[in-house]
């Protein structure tokens, strides 16, 4: 028995001493949080990670938020969900989940926390570069919070990364005005102060985006004077112009070659997979879930509007099912002259987040709001004539209402399928006026928006609600 005990003790001793090391396993195809954030390459990789999150934000949501609820699209029966088009959103509908935006916010917060640490570790990195990286994170974070404001209203405010399970993960929603005043606008002002004006790449959130976003926010808050101020700062950069008529299509298929795009999202299906939007608007291997609305179809297909170069370059007029939007695809015709669409897992779509035409028409809108009709008309005509149309004469748009309608129409045709239309209707307070008659045609006993404008906002997704008991659903959704 003594021998037994000796051996046992020996075995246990060997076991215990070697074990702590033996049981310490590192991830092999991932990196431990504690081992990251050492070099500039780490920052570059994290920046790419943040933008990659923007791809997920846009993938399918871009049109749900900005187009599906407007008069741009309708349900492609059997393939889509009619609820988007009849103001029947529910807490389980696609697009109601704000997680992708918060994922990007989390990555931006991570950068804002750790980039200064890398700076301390690597004093050799050009401080201008460090500041530019920080400005990108501020810009992207502000953009995401502004999307939250537009789609859901109040939203929880996270400015630091959740990187320890000791932190309280539950936060209630912060009111819209606090988000704007205490986070979004300060973020953009910080970005302006940190940015490097020489950085102009269209794929990155540079100074152009800062000004465009500030202008958009001012317009959203009906601060026309403020909007004009930010517009002037943007034009003072002398970076952006209206793209010529001949190369209008490049705005969507080659943004980096244009003088108009301010921020576009890069896409390469070989590394990113197919863009989800293709299954909604047109892919070669599946039916679209969206159908082009009669409003758009009838305008572009009318013989009188044949000279509007946007029609044939935006929608596929040859497809009888009205379910193919070709705006984002380069021309690729088969033998009989029909457009060939990429399979949904092979589609590249460069989402145009902001372009100068957008800012130009917003400036026109601001001028009209301030009853400066000549300025509004001049700016509107820039876009109108670029489309190949005859300029509006100053005798036709003589009051603010007709001017406003003309600007909104111009925006609808120009920014069709660019996530703009619904927010244009909201900003101008015409959602019910435009949509309710249409919704009643689509579904006779549907409620529409009516006087109760609460359904302009989206419901919070049930997944999101369940995960955080401090969240309160947007009324009247359940």
């Amino acid at each position: 028995m003594n021998r037994l005990f000796c051996l046992l003790i020996l075995a246990s001793a060997i076991a215990m001493s070697g074990c702590s090391k033996f049981l310490d396993k590192k991830p092999q195809t991932q990196i431990r949080t504690s081992s990251f954030w050492k070099t500039e390459d780490d920052i570059k990789a994290a920046i790419a990670g943040m933008y990659s999150g923007m791809q997920d934000v846009c993938g399918t949501n871009f049109l749900y938020w900005g187009d599906a609820r407007s008069d741009n699209y309708f349900d492609n029966p059997k393939y889509g969900n009619v609820s988007y088009y009849t103001n029947g959103l529910t807490s389980s509908i696609n697009g109601s989940d704000w997680s992708p935006l918060y994922t990007v916010i989390g990555r931006a917060n991570d950068l804002l926390k750790h980039v200064p640490e890398v700076k301390a570790l690597q004093p050799g990195i050009d401080p201008k570069l460090i500041n530019y990286y920080l400005s990108e994170a501020y810009n992207v974070r502000a953009y995401c919070y502004f999307q939250l404001v537009k789609v859901w209203g109040d939203a929880p405010l996270w400015t630091v990364p959740f990187d320890s399970i000791g932190m309280d993960p539950y936060k209630a929603r912060t009111p819209v005005n606090d988000l704007l005043d205490k986070l979004i606008i300060p973020d953009l002002l910080t970005a302006e102060s940190l940015t490097n004006p020489d950085q102009k790449t269209v794929w990155e959130a540079n100074l152009g985006l800062t000004y465009a976003l500030l202008m958009d926010i001012s317009m959203w808050r009906h601060d026309n004077a403020g909007a004009i101020e930010w517009y002037n700062k943007l034009t003072n950069l002398k970076r952006y112009k209206i793209e010529p008529t001949a190369t209008w299509k490049n705005l969507f298929i080659a943004p980096s070659k244009t003088v108009e795009n301010i921020w576009s999202i890069y896409w390469d299906w070989t590394t990113d997979g197919g863009a989800g939007i293709s299954g909604q608007i047109g892919a070669g291997n599946t039916n679209s879930t969206f159908k082009i609305s009669d409003v758009i179809w009838n305008y572009f297909s009318a013989a009188a509007n044949a000279k509007d170069i946007r029609g044939a370059q935006s929608i596929d007029l040859k497809v009888k099912a009205h379910d193919k939007t070709l705006k984002y695809y380069p021309v690729n015709l088969d033998g009989s002259g029909n457009q060939l669409y990429p399979a949904n897992n092979q589609a590249n779509v460069y989402f145009p987040i902001y372009r100068f035409a957008d800012m130009t028409l917003l400036r026109a809108e601001a001028a009209n709001n301030l009853h400066d009709l000549p300025t509004a008309l001049a700016l509107l005509n820039q876009i109108h004539t670029r489309a190949g149309l005859t300029a509006y004469a100053d005798t036709t748009l003589t009051d603010s209402t007709t001017m406003s309608n003309a600007i909104l129409k111009e925006r609808q045709y120009e920014f069709f399928a660019e996530g703009r239309r619904f927010f244009d209707l909201v900003r101008n307070g015409v959602v019910a006026k435009v949509m309710d008659p249409l919704i009643r045609i689509r579904k006779p006993d549907a409620q529409g928006f009516g006087a109760d404008m609460r359904t302009v906002l989206w419901p919070l997704s049930i997944t999101v609600l369940n995960a955080n008991p401090k969240l309160v659903q947007n009324q009247p959704y359940n």
Binding site: L4, L7, L8, A11, S12, A15, C19, F22, L23, K25, P27, Q28, T29, Q30, I31, R32, T33, F36, D42, A45, A46, A48, G49, Y51, K78, V82, T86, S92, W98, Y102, T103, G106, D110, W158, P161, F162, I165, P169, W203, Y266, W269, T270, T271, D272, G284, N285, N287, L340, Y341, A343, D445, A446, I462, T463, N466, A467, N468, P469, K470, N478
Partner: protein, 1052 residues
Amino acid sequence: MKKKLCHSHPGRLSPGRNRIFYLLLLLQLFTFLTNAQKTPLPPRGEPINRVGGTVLDSKGNPLPGVSVTIKSTGMGTTTDSSGKFRITVPGPQSVLVFSLVSYENKEETVGRKVKMVIALNEAANSLNDVVVIGYGTAKKRDLAGSITSISAKQLEERHPASLGDALQGMAAGVLVTTSAVPGAQPSIRIRGYSTFSSAGNNPLYVIDGVLSDNMDWVNPNDVQSVEILKDAASAAIYGSRSANGVIIVTTKRGVEGKPRINVQYLHTSGILAHKLPQANSREVRLYRQEQSNSPTAGGNTDSLNPSFNADNDYQDLLTRTALKNQVDFGISGGARNMNYFTSIRALDDQGLVVNSYAKSLLLRANIEFSPSTKFKYTSRFNFGYTTGNKIDEGNTIFQAFQRPANYAVFFPDGTLTGYISGRRNPLSVALLQVNRNQNYQGGLFNQIEYTFIPSLKFTTNAVVNYSETRTQGFLPKLLSSANPTTNAGSEGFSRTVNWQYQAFFNYNKTFGKDHAVTGLAGFSAENTQTNSATLADVNYVSEEILTLNSGTLVPSGTTTSATGNSLASLFGRASYSYKGKYILNALVRRDGSSRFGANNRWGNFVSGAVAWRFTDERFMNWSGNVLDDGKLRVSVGQTGNERIGNFDAQSKYDFGTYFYNAQSGVAPNSAVGNPNLKWESTLQSDVGLDLSFFKGRLLVVADYYVKTTSDMLYSRPLPRETGYSSVRVNVGTVQNKGFELTLTGRPLVRRDFDWLVSSNLSIERGVVKKLNGGQSFISGNSSDAGNAAWLIREGGALGDFYGWKQVGVYAYDQSNAYNDNWERLTPNFDKNGVFQGYTFKGQPYTGAVHSVYGRSTKLKGGDVEFANLTKDSVIDNADRTVLGNAQPKFYLALMNTLHYKQFTLSFTFNTQWGNKIYNNAARVLDDYGTSNIIPQPYVIHNMWRKQGDVTDVPVYRSSSVGNVRVSDRFIEDGSFIRLAYLQLNYTLPPALSRKMFAQSANCYIYGSNLLTWTNYTWYDPEFTSSDPLQLGQDGGNYPRRREIGLGINIYF
């Protein structure tokens, strides 16, 4: 007769056999070849009191490996391969005890005999059988825990393709659900679902002492015994991975004597067991008329249209007679100081669906060498290769039902069609889509046992397992839905290396006559490393060449992965038995796992058991003639689960999937790490009763258990605003209670006729006791239509289907009318069909009339009336309720073996009772969701068409009001009774087999899945569900075959 049979002539062929045997050994390069060559020389100088003989079974076949011991000395020998033994006894008064697993013991006084002929009867169950209990063995009579032991003989009758299949119905509390797919492994659940993850509910496998997650590579023919450790007191010796029971597999060893050559061949043919009704062309047209709301419409009736004038029987086109060929070859034997067992199995299984197949080749060599009584060296080597084409069930056999019967399968020139109107040609998919896999696995095990003193033995062993997998997928242009068509494919490689080391001491001593003590103390460590890569390709230049150089690489489909984990353990066990009357048993295990947080790596698992053989008490003397043995067992213990991701405790950044503008990005993993993560622990208590009546002719084993898992390894959702989606935490409690009853009996024992019957019943009741924050959640489909949904709630059970209750279909538009209390009013019409007002319970109703809305539209005639549980004007999420449960109320197996002279008939009935199935296959067809998916004929003929139709099938209507919500319309009773196996075996009389130069030979007719009684309407109610949160959804599984076959089995 028996006397006549006792003299076999085993020596006659020995030179030839030895040659084969030596050749084999040479091939395998075993170093102790020379020892083997020296063997069978009989020792010289026989003493006078030496006795020899032969041991036979009841049919006169020699029994090798029978232990022959001289009573009360412990000395003994074993019979050789021809059943012969020789032993030196102290004198004529000596008593010899003959024992062999699954045979009744026999005692015989030597007397004046020099040659003895002993016949052993098969035992229904024997208390002296040795049972493997993990790092040691014990006699069945000394067990205090709940262990079921299954012998090779029981397994052999099933002729299974995999060992898992053979365990079905063998043990109470063990639910084996087989899969119909060729080469697929069954799912095995021991005592219910104890946690929420798929892997966490699998048992641990211990194959010849080697711990494993599966037993896919074990040739069922090599198995000597299978032990199933069910309660915590038994399983806890395997600590951290034993919460769902342990299955111990012991393979065969050679028996001293001449080489024994075994050849077996089995051929089976299988047909589709259950053909389903499918809409033919005429019914497709009827449906088209309904879809387009025009009596003249009917698709393309143009007889010249080659695409649409067929009338296919797709099930006929896609299925064939499934042929299976199985060949086994083995040589085993041994000499005084060594023995060997080798085997080869080749299996070719051609599945029911064309082009689906599985082939395998399994090899094994087990060698034991003991140059002295103190030292034993064991080496085991096994190698396996499997390959198969796993056809895509959804796009073949299930697509067959979706695709209209009038679509062409072949072009006029005889070539296959691809897509027509968005529907794949299932035959093309089956024939042309490639989904091949090749798997290799090899294991080498070496062990040294050293006996210091007879009561103390030291064992140490090491094993290396190497496995490699290659998968190849390809989708040709013909099957592409893109325009222009493209082809795409992928190739994957994976390699896993695992090593294990164990060292332990066994102590075993009886003090005095009455105090038996055993002890075990040991240490083990293991490490696993897996590396894998998948590469995706498009635009293959040639569809003949499917290697990656033929196409263009797609970075987004190309991934690599590498992961590993390690475990270290200390374990010990002690037992004490007083005269076998009072048995105490305690064990402890301390496990460390790399998967847990640095603060909580180590976990302790403790268990204890007591047993009381009350029949040995004096006050039970009265029962002697009826009840010969009775034992009460009580055990309680703790077991664990560590099956989670290898690095769930750590926060980490991912890369390789976040690209932007040609820069590879990095982003935090969506699950945040939890450094405090620890073991999930399961506390199980078990009370059992073992009874043996009428000298072992009736055995009863009953167990009641309560199994509570707490601190479940649970992926807790995080608020999405954190940027993360989940964190792995220890929270939640699941409890299972169950009752198990096994009856084994020999109701008839005659000279030529013998009947053995065994049945077991298992009743399990699981309940979710505690969830994170008490919050219930929906697993599966959270929207209102489509796939099944399950409600996971405190007080509920896993498998609770959740959705809406269908009450009926409104006959008239006016039928959607309710009084203030939401009771339905009856609309009345005159003979011209003009609405005349409502009545309620036969009385005219004049009060307010309320109506129900679905998706904000008022429901009309033909719409489904759902149970309005909230009594309001809308059918919405609040009207959902639990619709039934997917787990059986009980399951039961009944096994019979009848011997008559040379014939043996054995058959097994299986049943599962009271479980519900969500028939999602039918749902996809019947929900009118896609215009080119054709519903089942019943739906086409019975759908609501006009005002006043009374039916249970809703109207075809394109704008949906939610008629096809997740509802009990597609929930069916999954109960079944099945004649699962039947075998009629004929053993050649020994005289006849000797003429074939064989020691023994038998041939048999075999059948499986011969008869099934069920009300379930899709292919088969038995199918595997991998996710415990999503049980019992049939998505159109591979059909099951009814199989009959012929086989022979010869021992030379």
